[in-house]
């Protein structure tokens, strides 16, 4: 240990020029400023993380997808009143609802609008035998196994998840298709159930005669307590 004398012994205070403090008064204001900014940033970040997933940018709900052929559900469903199953043939028996083959389009369009410019790609497809490449509107991750047929069979209407399709000139996503969104219904299906015959009905409104969600659940044998099992969707 070196001898104490190396300590800088201050002489008499009087006369010794005062060593002014390191910081000027503004330092305090700056400190406050910095601290408050940090706090604000933190709150904004948290808030952002909380709200972003629900923005349409993230969910893409309501954002119409451009398509090679500007197919309008509004016209075909709302206007002409085509049944969903006319094109989405396998919705009642299969996991997938099925996209209509070009053939289906041409069942009508070989008679009407035969040389409409809009439909050129369709005729092209049939002529060359190359499929039309639509832009997907509803997509789920690879590890999610969704099955249309069971939902349809249990009185979940098309519009419940896909929105007012009959009002979509170009189709957009009807719901976020988030896990939490799925769970909301899987935990409490009653409000989203309809009588079987109304499943494909675009503008169905419950009437006094309509059985309650609970009655429907009973008649469909739906057991919500089993519907939030992970294995229902993940395999």
């Amino acid at each position: 240990m070196p001898p104490p004398n190396n300590a800088r012994r201050a002489g008499g205070v009087t006369g010794v020029p005062a060593v002014p403090g390191v910081f000027s008064p503004t330092a305090n204001i700056l400190t406050k400023l910095v601290l408050y900014t940090l706090l604000a940033a933190l709150i904004t970040l948290a808030g952002g993380a909380w709200f972003f997933p629900n923005t349409t940018y993230a969910t893409r709900v309501g954002i119409a997808q451009p398509q090679p052929v500007p197919f309008s559900h509004e016209h075909h469903v709302g206007g002409l009143g085509l049944d969903c199953r006319y094109c989405h043939t396998s919705v009642e028996v299969s996991a997938t609802a099925g996209l209509p083959p070009t053939h289906t389009c041409m069942t009508c369009h070989s008679q009407i609008w035969t040389n409409a410019e809009l439909l050129a790609p369709v005729r092209q497809s049939l002529a060359t035998g190359t499929p039309i490449r639509w832009n997907r509107v509803n997509a789920l991750p690879d590890y999610v196994f969704f099955n249309h047929s069971i939902h349809v069979a249990k009185g979940v209407a098309c519009t419940t998840c896909h929105g007012p399709v009959d009002a979509m000139p170009l189709t957009w996503k009807g719901a976020s298709l988030r896990m939490s969104w799925c769970l909301d219904c899987h935990r409490d299906p009653a409000p989203n159930l309809r009588p079987k015959e109304a499943v494909f009905d675009m503008d169905w409104k419950p009437t006094a005669a309509t059985p309650s969600g609970e009655q429907l659940m009973a008649s469909y044998h739906i057991h919500p307590e089993t519907l939030s099992d992970c294995s229902v969707c993940h395999r």
């Binding site: 300590a7 201050a10 008499g12 205070v13 009087t14 010794v16 020029p17 005062a18 060593v19 002014p20 403090g21 390191v22 910081f23 000027s24 008064p25 503004t26 330092a27 305090n28 400190t31 601290l35 939030s228 992970c230």
Partner: protein, 183 residues
Amino acid sequence: MSVRPGTGHSLRGRLAAFDDPDAMLKALRRLRQEGFSQLEVYGPHAVEGVDELLGRRARALPLVVVAAGMLGVVGGFFLQYWGMVLGYPLNIGGRPLNSWPAFAPSTFELAALTILLIGFLAFCRVCRLPRLYDPIFDAPGFEHASQDRFLIWIAEREGHDDHDLLRRLLPEGEGVRIDEVPA
């Protein structure tokens, strides 16, 4: 110049510096007897007895910490209870949804965390930290307060001229110097 030490009162005053804490204590006692009330002591380490002489007792911190602890326990347990029983009840290995014994360790840890964080914030609050600038820092020789000197700050009392009194109470020498802090 007016010195506004951390204690908050904005007054002109004097600083008395002592090499030895005991001398400082003696002086402080005298000053109190003479009725000086607005005093503050600065030093390189805590000195027993000062608080008593200045008549200060801390209540805030312990209370805050106890509250924090309770908050931590309740919040910590509820968080787990929420997740396992209310949020997404799952059959995990046949264990009950509310397996409270399994929630105990985390509850304790979370309580500790709350105490640590809130405790520190409360400390900063009562000490009014961070406070990078304070006039006291500009007081001549104040830098010794963090090294080898004990300083007593004596607020100037309205209407008295304490100069001579202080001279008498705190005689120069034996490591005592009075420092006039001019207005």
